[in-house]
């Protein structure tokens, strides 16, 4: 909870992360940052700009281009009493470090019968747009969420970006924080000073009666917009921003599905074997009797993200397609849906599909 006297002001998700990290480093001298290009002008999209000045250069460590060792070294430092926060930048670079993450980070505590601890935060960024293409646009949360011993968080809004990264740094377990590149621009209300959000689960947006939409990361923003459009048709959704993928807390989702009877999940990655697959399975197993219609999942089709603007037109779910799917599940007359979809498309205007929609800058 924020300090009762903390000012609430509007800042970006990227700034919120920087605030969270600066505050965490100030409070705990064992916290240190490590990354390739840690001190370069871009400063991990601005998220660690100026931290060296605030906490001392010896706690901001430059790493040569060696992701496997970077991660192993950070894990070794964590095992030895420090709290490293590393950035692998694009999540694809984490692929070079998976052995360290899946084995040494995730399992040292278990293998040592609880004696070793690995309090590491591993930041990864999901790219999108601008022709970044197949190997700079993947959303790989399913890989990390598969592994016992890891925690996985995907904040969508600035407040959660600050709150969750604070909790991640304080957590004695390895936490993978996956940040969507387009979320870095999103602005919203964020408490000043120290602010923590426990890594216990999701956050609901709205309290709808007709459908539960569980979304992660950037897709939460699209889902919220779809829910607003759904309201104009006379129906209501509860959008559940999943936030914490592992450990997965199904309780609020089950409770919501018992109320609405319909479940739609929206992932930022491939639909096949995405978080939606696990959520739908658990709902089917736990509250099948509450379902009015089969749950559906939205995500990316089974091919890599194209680079060309032409090829990526139909690749990503968006507010319009989420609305269409929800309406199909509820049984809204297609003609009515078409009108609202057209309205959404018009609002989007001439913004190309592969750059962030300015609507999503907020503030939220």
């Amino acid at each position: 909870m924020p300090d009762a006297t903390a000012a609430i002001r509007t800042i970006s998700y990227g700034e919120a992360i920087r605030e969270g990290l600066t505050e965490a480093a100030r409070r705990d001298p064992t916290v240190f940052m490590m990354a390739e290009g840690v001190d370069d002008p871009s400063s991990v999209f601005g998220t660690i700009a100026g931290i060296a000045k605030n906490v001392g250069g010896d706690r901001v460590v430059e790493m040569p281009v060696a992701e496997n060792a970077l991660t192993g070294i950070a894990i070794g430092a964590a095992l030895s009493g420090r709290r490293p926060v590393i950035s692998l930048h694009r999540v694809e670079f984490a692929l070079l470090a998976l052995e360290q993450i899946f084995n040494n980070a995730a399992k040292a505590h278990y293998i040592s019968n609880g004696r070793h601890k690995v309090p590491i935060v591993i930041r990864c960024i999901v790219g999108r747009g601008w022709g970044q293409g197949p190997e700079h646009s993947q959303s790989l949360e399913s890989l990390f969420s598969y592994i016992p011993g890891l925690k996985v968080v995907m904040p969508a809004f600035p407040r959660d970006a600050k709150g969750l990264i604070t909790a991640a740094v304080e957590d004695n377990n390895p936490v993978i924080m996956i940040e969507h590149r387009w979320c870095h621009y999103v602005t919203g209300e964020v408490p000043d000073g120290y602010y923590r959000e426990d890594l216990i689960g999701s956050r609901p947006h709205g309290d709808g009666n007709d459908i539960t939409i569980v979304a992660t990361s950037y897709m939460t923003l699209e889902a919220v917009r779809a829910a607003e459009a759904l309201n104009t048709l006379g129906y209501s959704a509860t959008v559940i921003d999943l936030r914490v993928l592992r450990p997965l807390n199904m309780e609020p989702i089950i409770a919501s599905v018992r109320k609405t009877g319909r479940l739609l999940t929206v992932d930022t990655g491939w639909r096949t074997l995405g978080p939606g697959a696990e959520i739908v399975s658990q709902v089917a197993q736990t509250c099948f009797d509450a379902l009015k219609s089969p749950p559906r999942r939205m995500g990316l089709p089974d091919h890599p993200a194209p680079s060309s603007r032409g090829l990526v037109q139909d690749f990503y779910p968006n507010a319009e397609t989420i609305l269409a799917e929800a309406c199909s599940m509820i049984g809204v007359a297609p003609a009515r849906v078409g009108a609202v979809r057209a309205d959404l498309a018009e609002k989007r205007g001439k913004v190309p599909v592969d750059v962030p929609d300015p609507f999503f800058k907020g503030p939220f």
Binding site: P64, N68, A69, Y110, S112, G149, P247
Partner: protein
Amino acid sequence: MDLSVGMFISVPIVASSIPLAVGGALANSMAGLDRVNAVFIGDASVEEGVFHESANFASLKKLPVIFVCENNLYSVYTPLRQRQPDRPLTNLAAAHGIPSVTADGNDVEAVYAATQSAVTRARRGDGPTFLVFDTYRWREHCGPNFDNQLGYRSEAEYEEWRKRCPIERATAKLRQSGALSDAATAAMIAEIGKVIDEAFDFAKAAPLPRASTAGEHIYA
């Protein structure tokens, strides 16, 4: 793992422990602790990329870590000459600006002296050292048996190395100097044998952990 004797961690993936040791050395140096980390690796570990990534960083930051390469000439059944070009292992350390010491790994005093020099360097803040100890594996890669009958190496090679048994050589030297008597040897063997027997008895008598506890210690 037994921190009381400085036994920090052991992992089964070849070379995976190397960055852990370097990271520990980074942490120790950040904390201002007078500690030296030693990571024990085989001659095949230096074929893994992560060795080079870790050595580069340890050298750059002059970290108090020692890479102890036990060169026993084999990676499971495959000899060194089939895995690496014909050049000294120490070249790989030199490539990262790390000084090396090579010694007879079956000579206790030579190993001690080489290690001492590396520890001194590390404590002085001069950074890592790469130690190469030439030695040999008598038994199989994994398990208590001998496996020369599989034919991956010659009996002659094996016999040559057996003659260089580090225990026999050290014992002979100590006897020759009079530092070790028959009675003292017998007493040590009895005492250490007792500790080993007690450990075996304890292990055999101890119950297996309960299956219901298999899911503990996932998270700290």
